[in-house]
Symmetry: C2
Subunit: 303 residues, 2 copies
């Protein structure tokens, strides 16, 4: 084994429990995943489920500190951990953790989510993405994009997460392609078309009228210029393009600027193309950002 196991990171979301066994320096030694997300569990079941999932590692390595994050710390999870306000780095996040002791004596540390009180009309929120940003790195100052159902744009400044904003881009896409007038016109199974995607981005870049632009997904078919095979990628272009346009207008970047894309939800390649269309240089984060970030907060907590 390349390193000694020193802790366990549990990313416990709505539909799955993902755990990683890590060494002192963050090397991922083993991984497991179950479908026991919080939506399948009732109050009072969480500890037994966690102990059963981690028992092979506890048997092999004895008690180990466990960091748990994600929707498990939300109102519908195990215990609700209050959001830590921006600006925040590992120290502020560690101060917001909630600790328990597991039956085998292991420390269980629930990591907090982050909110941004400066956003209007209400503070914005994230649970999990803040840990990815910490793992990606808080030096130097940077703009970070986390693509997803509810994608996030964040600013890293002076070693902390300074501010962020949510865009419900992936959710709107899913609604449109699964339930709207667009659903009826699209090829099944879905076809990916890079040219149609870029076309959608170009149209989104030129329009402030998102509610009108979306109708082009129908009118393009009516005039025979947008095929059923192109529709899905074209709509991705419209909505991700609107996210980039709106994020620019909200001050997250300027043309010619740079940003890092962090996370691993399958949309990163689409976001790289969008950034190119909007003249934003991008770098790609590594897949272990969540593990590294959780370990950083855990080590601060237990220090």
């Amino acid at each position: 084994m390349a390193g000694q196991a020193t802790s366990i990171i549990v990313d416990w979301g709505t539909t799955s429990l993902r755990a990683t066994l890590v060494s002192q320096n963050g090397k991922e030694l083993d991984h497991l995943e179950t479908e026991q997300g919080i939506s399948s569990l009732s109050k009072g079941e969480h500890e037994a489920v966690l102990m059963a999932a981690l028992s092979p590692w506890f048997s092999a390595h004895g008690a180990l500190p466990v960091a748990a994050l994600g929707m498990i710390t939300s109102r519908n999870g195990w215990i609700e951990v209050p959001y830590v306000p921006c600006p925040a780095g590992p120290a502020e996040l560690a101060a917001g953790t909630v600790r328990r002791t597991l039956p085998n004596g292991s420390d269980l540390v629930f990591l907090p989510g982050l909110n941004d009180p400066a956003r209007r009309p209400f503070p914005d929120v994230m649970r999990g993405e803040e840990t990815q940003i910490v793992g990606h790195g808080l030096v130097p100052d940077a703009t970070i994009i986390l693509p997803g159902t509810h994608s996030k744009w964040a600013r890293v400044k002076s070693g902390r997460i300074d501010s962020f904003q949510t865009f419900v881009t992936g959710e709107i896409f899913n609604l449109l392609v699964n339930h709207s007038f667009i659903a009826r016109g699209s090829t099944q199974p879905p076809v990916e078309d890079p040219d149609a995607y870029r076309w959608g981005l170009d149209e989104a870049k030129q329009s402030t009228a998102m509610l009108s632009l979306l109708f082009s997904a129908r009118t393009g078919g009516l005039v025979g210029r947008l095929s059923a095979d192109q529709l899905r990628s074209y709509v991705w272009g419209l909505v991700i393009g609107q996210e980039f346009r709106q994020a620019r207008d909200a001050g997250w970047y300027s043309e010619g600027g740079a940003a890092a894309i962090v996370g691993n939800d399958g949309l990163n390649d689409l976001y790289v193309v969008a950034a190119d269309v909007f003249d934003l240089k991008t770098s790609m984060g590594t897949d272990d950002a969540l593990t590294k970030g959780a370990l950083a907060v855990l080590q601060q907590t237990l220090a």
Copy 2:
């Protein structure tokens, strides 16, 4: 009877067939409605369905010219009638009609929809709303709003419909409240809250970032400032407010301007409030705009 029956207007949509018996001057003498929309019919069934529906009137009054409009003239309807391009008034629409003769000798006139070739990226389209606009009146020049699942903003100029643009506002609202993260947080049965609606409009007026603004429907609940009872009306405010913001940016009106609200889809009262928030004076069209408009085109066709 207050006037002699001279024609029949058939508004034949996706889910219903609505027919009105009218006098020479447009007075509505009788009305019937069935659930035989085009989605429930196959090719070849339409004529028999229409004859059965209208047979009481044909028996009482003999052969009468029939104007048919709506999705019945679309690709999935009885016959596809090509769109007439803007600018267009009754003369241009009459020139775009398609005529048939029914088994009892009645003229059947299919009214065309309208497209706007100037819109980008593709020509915009309407089927039925153009007839409502004609019935509302083409003098003097005006901006017309037709609220709906796919609402329309149109410009009447020099006695014709000069241009128009579609906003998929009602569709996005329905997707959000029925299928999204918002659906889970809203009270059932729905509650209407005028203050929450105006609040959503105010927020929409201040934001260019629609994809971000929609997330406030969740964050407002998280901080306890937006209740489940308020959610539905607040979201209506967000989306209709964004329509008014985007329509203003697209040049359909300026602050202090005026517009007429035409149509009868149940949203008119919400649009009057939105117009007030966006400093747009409104007048309300009458409920018989569709009948009057269809009669005007029918009379031009048969003249």
